[in-house]
């Protein structure tokens, strides 16, 4: 039964299973375990990124398509919700309308992009999507009447999801500190439920006959075509599915942040983060998305704090403090990019599974 839920695609490594259980439990009970504002924000972001990265892995890891336009769909989702809530006020109807119209736009756009440009060479596709994404970013910041331009949109969400809404009068005194059972708490679990559902559905898709064909196309599209698989159809469908999942992830982001702007959901930086997470976790393994997102976001969120410690520890030494200040955290993030390619050529999941095989 459990195995069916996971589409018979089990972790296949004891260590991997253990890490996944820890992460999933951690996320499931995050509001009770980590009571700070920052940590719950990190947990929510991990959830959103899991959904986003999983959708990207369908493209990259399973189908072998390098697309830089993935944040565009993420952004469409976030903007869809933001614009609807901004224009119609904090109602559930606005959320529904925003989500549905964002999904519809993404559907059409990804279909068009897929049909027109998936025929060209992979590297050209990557470059075209890079250009399209940057054009879209420019467009979003130019249409300031609708999107709020560079400034973005701050908006309100329905009462039930606001911090002001209290499930119980008083905070619940848990073993790890007081837990405020408010609208944020509800929003978090809403996110958790949706992301879990998305993950399981995606797991199902990649383990379906369809998913297997995608892998074949990744390996040798020419041969797949000769077997009778219409590669354009499969690739386009994969592109559309990935876009829809990313859009949904974008909606979740907007819902959680109650803000959206070009930098928040459309920037190239996010695209790179996604790429890196997929590689760290392991391409073509959805579990990698969970592991990668968790590790990367923890690193990204706490790197500066860590450096602050390291910086004060090395005070007095030459040069090191200049490199170890929190101001230079990007340097270490860059190093993370390099090292992860070095040491996890098959990703953490690949590594762990290889070990398990020995």
């Amino acid at each position: 039964m459990f195995s069916r839920l996971l589409s018979h695609d089990l972790p296949r490594s004891r260590w991997l299973a253990l890490m996944l259980v820890v992460i999933v439990l951690g996320l499931a009970f995050a509001p009770f375990l980590f009571t700070g504002v920052k940590s719950i924000n990190v947990a929510a972001k991990v959830l959103i990124f899991i959904a986003l990265v999983v959708s990207f892995d369908l493209l990259l890891g399973y189908t072998g398509i390098v697309s830089f336009a993935h944040t565009m769909f993420f952004g469409i989702g976030a903007y869809g919700l933001a614009i609807a809530l901004n224009a119609m006020g904090p109602t559930w109807g606005a959320i529904a309308l925003g989500t549905v119209s964002a999904l519809a736009i993404s559907l059409v756009l990804s279909l068009v992009i897929g049909l027109f440009s998936l025929r060209v060479r992979a590297i050209f596709f990557a470059m075209i999507t890079l250009a399209v994404a940057s054009a879209f970013l420019t467009l979003a910041s130019q249409l300031s009447d609708i999107t709020g331009g560079e400034d973005g949109l701050s908006f309100k969400v329905p009462e039930l999801l606001t911090p002001g809404f209290a499930l119980m009068e008083d905070d619940w005194e848990g073993p790890f500190g007081a837990v405020a059972l408010n609208g944020r708490f509800i929003t978090y679990y809403l996110l958790f439920a949706v992301v879990t559902g998305m993950f399981l559905v995606m797991l199902r898709i990649v383990n379906s006959p369809f998913g297997r064909v995608l892998q074949a196309i990744r390996e040798n599209d020419f041969r797949a075509e000769a077997l009778g698989y219409r590669t354009v159809v499969y690739r386009t469908l994969s592109n559309v599915l990935a876009a829809l999942f990313a859009t949904l992830a974008g909606c979740l982001l907007a819902l959680w942040l109650r803000y959206n702007g070009p930098d928040t959901s459309l920037s190239f930086e996010i695209m790179l983060d996604i790429l890196l997470i997929v590689v760290i976790g392991g391409m073509g393994t959805l579990y990698g998305a969970i592991l990668g997102s968790t590790l990367f976001l923890l690193a990204q969120s706490y790197l500066q704090d860590l450096l602050r410690l390291a910086g004060s520890a090395t005070e007095g030494l030459p040069l090191l403090p200049a490199l170890l200040t929190p101001d230079r955290w990007l340097l270490w993030l860059g190093l993370l990019f390099v090292l992860s390619v070095y040491y996890f050529p098959t990703g953490i999941v690949g590594r762990l599974r290889d070990r398990a095989k020995r």
């Binding site: 504002v37 920052k38 910041s141 560079e150 973005g152 701050s154």
Partner: protein, 374 residues
């Protein structure tokens, strides 16, 4: 009641605005030290500064501010550097019912339609910038074309500028993409528009990016060939290096260390030289002013940092800054302040074009509109 007042400084420690942000922080710390007479205490309470790096990202700024108020129990927050970040942060202050002192983000809407009562701003807003420049250029014989970057910053500035111009003629607004690499077309359009126009011709430039059009105006010898002059606001010192090619250029500045004559500025310049062997810059003055505002207000409430006490204390409050006296306007909590009409001099002793004071534009002379709804 705790023995501390916790102040969070949320700013773009890293990212493209790093250089600006650092100046603000230096100014803030220097200002707090100066205002408390070196004790870092107000009314017997220790001032504790918590630094947060928003990296110039609005979403991050928003969650950091929440973390500062929520996790770090900050009583007051100062920052941020970029306007989009500030706009994303405004609702958080309202949610936590704590003061956010905006410095140096400039967008009008921060104290305009996005404002809430927990927001104060020591920094100048776009309108103040533009209006002061308008005051400096507003003569009947002048014809002006504006050149702005095509985004909220540029458009806000040009709009406010136009509204403030009463006598001069603005014949054209030129906007170019913020990422423009070649300004030849823009300049060509401007030349064409000025054809046959009598009197003095000015191009007023509002541009904040490093890819500035200034040097191109010099290369194409506009003044010599077409009698077109340039005007613009002040900027940070490294950016004013290009001004050196335009001796005589006029405009209005927010701050230049050599201009204001008052004890606070003298103290700041002296300290800065002592500590960094260089003069304080644009944003240092801003950070310093924010510190002065905070300490003045806390003294007034006798160390009570709750918004309920601070808001009434700060509304209408005047305080000393390196730029002289500032006053938080009651209506929108914007600090009203002097600006400086300058003229550039090329002084071989300095790497940058030195703005020399023509005259101080007092707050009363600038009719800065109130754009918020209370």
């Amino acid at each position: 009641q705790s023995k501390e007042i916790r102040i969070a400084h949320v700013y773009s420690k890293t990212g493209p605005l790093e250089a600006y942000a650092k100046q603000t922080h230096v100014g803030l710390m220097m200002g707090l030290d100066y205002a408390t007479g070196g004790t870092m205490e107000v009314a017997g309470k220790k001032l504790v500064i918590i630094e947060k790096d928003d990296q110039g990202k609005p979403d991050l700024g928003k969650s950091l501010l929440a973390a500062a108020y929520g996790d770090d129990k900050a009583d007051i927050a100062v920052g941020p550097t970029a306007s989009p970040v500030a706009l994303a942060m405004l609702p958080v202050a309202e949610e936590y019912r704590k003061i956010l002192l905006v410095e140096p983000a400039v967008a009008d809407s921060i104290t305009g339609d996005k404002w809430n009562k927990y927001i104060f701003r020591t920094g100048r807003n776009s309108s103040q910038d533009a209006i002061s420049n308008a005051v400096a250029l507003d003569k009947a014989e002048n014809t002006i074309i504006t050149l702005g970057q095509d985004d909220a910053f540029g458009r806000d500035g040009v709009k406010a500028f136009r509204e403030a111009i009463k006598k001069a003629k603005v014949i054209h607004e030129e906007f170019q993409p913020p990422s423009t690499t070649d300004f030849t077309p823009a300049i060509q359009r401007i030349i064409d528009k000025f054809k046959g126009v009598p009197g003095r011709k000015f191009v007023w430039i509002v541009w904040s990016r490093p890819n500035s059009p200034f040097s191109k105006f010099a290369e194409l010898e506009l003044q010599k060939r077409h009698g077109i002059e340039m005007a613009s606001g002040g900027n940070i010192l490294p950016a004013m290096v290009t001004y050196k090619q335009f001796p005589g250029m006029e405009g209005a500045a927010y701050y230049y260390f050599g201009i204001p004559k008052n004890p606070v500025n003298e103290a700041m310049v002296a300290r800065h030289y002592k500590e960094f062997k260089s003069p304080p810059d644009f944003f240092t003055a801003g950070g310093f002013s924010a510190a002065m505002a905070l300490v003045t207000a806390l003294k007034k409430t006798n160390g009570d940092a709750k918004a309920s006490a601070l808001i009434p204390a700060m509304e209408g409050m005047s305080f000393d800054t390196p730029k002289g006296k500032m006053t938080f306007r009651k209506e929108d909590h914007q600090a009203m302040q002097s600006m400086y009409h300058f003229k550039i001099k090329a002084d071989p002793a300095f790497a940058w074009g030195v703005p020399e004071l023509v005259r101080e534009i007092k707050p009363e002379e600038m009719n800065v509109p109130i754009r918020n709804k209370r």
